[in-house]
């Protein structure tokens, strides 16, 4: 997507400043209704989910002791995968958001929670809660836009490196928890600094992350396999843990991609955000910058209710179990102000996000201006852009964009003429 300020018609051009503030007021009212209603049932909900998750994980690990028998391996691995997904999505992510801090239970609190993931709670809370949720979809400020390794917006400059991004994205999906850990540490940026000049803060955080990874790996790949030794299940247990981690990684990566990457989700220019952004303006940015996944209750649970990404971004600290109930009111508000409520089933959103990753792995306009007839020429151009340095790249890029614009105009004219 192009940042909204550079689109021919901004999707919020029709909103007056008063409208924007009124949206803020109406969303605050929805939030307040949930705060007023929040209580015993919500507390019982999260405690039940935590209880079920822990027993499911324990049970699955017990079943895996017998995983020398293939049916038990399958059963235990499914259970462990589901447990790990629940732990990360519906529990960890949401507890660390402070969604359950109001219960004043130190055991289920954003300040004490640590999750089953390579990244530390502390690192995650900084990069996710603080940076991503505050600067959502502002190109250059929200690192979630491509995690620093991908180009997911027209306004991120194309580099030949991006040609490989479908592959990077797939690898990142498989090892997503490590990707998150590296991302929380801003590993790329920090490693490019000479060793002696790296900040103490980075070094301390890196040490903490390595310690966490060691503990996580020891659990999954040493302790539990060792427990399986008497049952001849060492290797099956290693395989089961690896599979469960892989499944959890692929699933959480897909869900998170669906939140902000599908085609049609808006992005924002850094300089278009005023320093004193009002609550209404912040809300509108969250409304346009997120996409929902429609589906069953089970699907919502397994995504940690991030299927209600729009509601989550508007109210990141409300209990996840309440998003489904406020969604119709939020959607009505979108309609009232003629804004696009981006929601689609999971396969569609995943496909859309992947389409964007592939499309933007190529220079802007390249895919649109390529036909079977001019393919050799276009490939030559791409080769040139990839190998002949920034100058050639810029010139070719300008030409491509111009060509695309001209083709579009011609098509529009033709359509007008035939109408």
């Amino acid at each position: 997507m192009t940042v909204i300020t550079k689109q021919p018609v901004s999707p919020i051009a029709h909103l007056t400043p008063e409208d924007v503030e009124q949206i803020g007021v109406e969303l605050d009212a929805i939030r307040q209704d949930v705060l007023d209603a929040r209580g015993e049932e919500d507390a019982a909900y999260i405690r039940t989910v935590v209880d079920v998750q822990r027993k499911l994980e324990l049970g699955s690990r017990a079943v895996l002791l017998g995983s020398a028998l293939p049916p038990l391996w399958v059963l235990g691995t499914i259970g462990l995968s589901v447990a790990k997904i629940l732990e990360n999505m519906e529990i960890g992510h949401n507890v660390m958001h402070g969604q359950w801090d109001w219960m004043r239970d130190p055991k289920i609190h954003s300040t004490t929670w640590e999750w089953d993931n390579a990244s530390t709670a502390e690192g995650w809370k900084h990069s996710h809660n603080e940076v991503h949720h505050t600067y959502t979809n502002i190109v250059g400020k929200d690192n979630d836009l491509g995690y620093g390794i991908m180009r997911v917006d027209e306004d991120q400059r194309w580099h030949p490196f991006h040609l490989g991004q479908p592959l990077w994205n797939f690898i990142n999906a498989c090892f997503f928890e490590y990707g998150i850990a590296a991302y929380d540490l801003e590993l790329g940026k920090n490693l490019s600094v000479p060793k002696e000049k790296r900040s103490e803060e980075f070094k301390a955080n890196a040490r903490k992350t390595l310690a966490k990874i060691r503990k996580q790996a020891t659990k999954d790949y040493v302790v539990h396999p060792a427990l399986g030794l008497p049952f001849g299940a060492v290797l099956p247990i290693v395989a089961a843990n690896f599979t469960a981690n892989l499944v959890r990684n692929l699933w959480s990566h897909s869900v998170i991609m669906c939140g902000h990457f599908p085609e049609g989700v808006e992005t924002f220019e850094r300089k278009s955000i005023p320093a004193d952004e009002t609550r209404g303006q912040w809300y509108v940015r969250q409304m346009l910058g997120s996409a929902n996944i429609s589906g069953s209750k089970a699907m919502h649970l397994m995504t940690g209710n991030l299927s209600h990404q729009i509601e989550h971004h508007l109210f990141p600290d409300l209990p996840s179990s309440r998003y489904a109930e406020v969604a119709p009111r939020v959607q009505a508000l979108f309609e009232k102000y003629d804004l696009h409520y981006h929601s689609a089933p999971l396969p569609q959103q995943v496909a859309s996000a992947w389409h964007k990753v592939v499309r933007l792995s190529l220079p802007n306009g390249w895919l649109a201006t390529t036909t079977p007839k001019n393919l050799p020429e276009q490939l030559k151009l791409l080769w040139g852009m990839s190998t002949k340095g920034p100058k050639v790249r810029r010139a070719a890029q300008a030409r491509l964009v111009q060509l695309e614009k001209r083709q579009k105009a011609a098509r529009a004219e033709k359509a007008a003429a035939s109408a």
Binding site: L35, A43, R54, R104, E114, T134, K212, D317
Partner: protein, 367 residues
């Protein structure tokens, strides 16, 4: 140059600790306790909790809650109190209640709660709590206990729920195989006969000759004037006095006894006096290093603390990221977004977002 520490024998880890380390490694990032709590929350070695065994109504507005405490309950002396953390509408709230039994044979403890009008926790405990509910517990505390050996003559003055620590003492004394050789007078003051907690039990004690019960009811006898105590208890000067009740009565008694040079032990129930300042007014902020600064009612505590030169955790500064959450040791704060007031007494364990909360009275935070 040698250090003795270098050659000191390393303490050998016992097999239990090793086993524990393996178990912890198997459930990281949790520890073993987090997992075991799901199966046996009352075992030893974990946080102290209690399970409600029975809720017995005492009057229309009071009830005795019998609790099975966790294994680590260290016992108590009658007259002591306990801090109880109760989840009301999903929110954990801590209150202090006197223990109303001596040590019981079944290992249970009990508290007797009077529902105060508008009291969130007391009404919940009296009217809503059901057997099976889990609560958090502290260990027994308090100095309001009878001396050992007992004096020959004792005067107990209680008003309203002030009977609760005293009933524990009495039950304990009279459950002994050998009756105590102490002459006890109990002056029990209540608003009316029907609101008197343990009325029948106390009368039974009186009828059995275990104590002399003086019942005073405000609606019948008028408010108790401590100067009239001599008329009720002629040998007042010979008695060791214990009193528990509202502050007004205790103040008057203390003045009365001090004037006569008589010893008096009192127990005051902490009443939460914390209320939000009127009309959005601010208060003060006290930080961990003892610095106290003025805190305006419209300025986030984060800004106030930083203005005072304190190093504070912070993040988005708009209430979204929870990167600024710190314990509010004591005080009242107001959420600048919706005006919601949060009150914290010491030990409540309330954590607040400092970036969207402003002082609404004196506040102390741990930074």
């Amino acid at each position: 140059m040698t250090s003795t520490a270098l050659y000191a024998p390393q303490p050998r880890k016992g097999w239990r600790q090793r086993l524990r380390a393996v178990a912890d490694a198997a459930v990281t990032p949790l520890d073993l306790d987090d997992v075991l709590d799901h199966f046996h929350p009352l075992r030893g070695g974990t946080e102290l909790r209690g399970r409600v065994v029975e809720v017995r109504p005492e009057t229309a507005e009071s009830a005795t809650v019998v609790l099975k405490p966790g294994r680590d309950w260290a016992g108590h002396v009658p007259g002591q109190y306990v801090r109880v953390g109760v989840d009301v509408d999903g929110v954990r709230l801590w209150r202090t209640y006197s223990l109303t039994h001596g040590p019981r044979r079944d290992g249970c403890i009990s508290i007797t709660v009077k529902a105060i009008p508008g009291g969130v926790v007391s009404n919940h405990l009296v009217h809503r709590v059901r057997p099976g509910t889990m609560v958090q517990l502290g260990q027994a505390e308090g100095e309001f206990v009878l001396p050992d050996p007992l004096p020959a003559k004792l005067l107990l003055v209680t008003a309203g729920s002030g009977i609760t620590p005293v009933i524990g003492m009495l039950r304990n004394l009279h459950s002994r195989a050998e009756a105590p050789d102490t002459d006890i007078v109990l002056v029990h003051v209540n608003a009316s006969e029907s609101s008197a907690i343990f009325r029948d039990e106390l009368r039974a004690h009186g009828d059995a000759g275990r104590l002399r019960l003086v019942e005073r009811y405000d609606d019948r006898d008028g408010l108790l004037d401590v100067a009239a105590l001599d008329a009720l208890v002629p040998d007042l000067d010979e008695r060791l006095s214990y009193a528990c009740g509202p502050a007004g009565l205790l103040d008057a008694l203390e003045a009365h006894h001090a004037g006569r040079g008589l010893p008096l032990t009192t127990e005051r129930f902490r009443t939460p006096l914390l209320e939000a300042a009127e009309g959005g007014a601010g208060g003060t902020l006290t930080l961990s290093d003892g610095t106290t600064v003025d805190a305006a009612g419209d300025t986030p505590l984060l800004d106030v603390a930083e203005g005072a030169g304190a190093l504070m955790p912070s993040g988005c500064r708009i209430g979204v990221c929870f990167g600024c959450v710190l314990p509010l040791r004591e005080g009242v704060v107001r959420d600048l977004r919706n005006g919601e007031v949060t009150v914290a007494a010491p030990g409540d364990g309330v954590a607040i977002q400092t970036c969207i909360n402003a002082a609404a009275g004196p506040c102390t935070i741990d930074n």
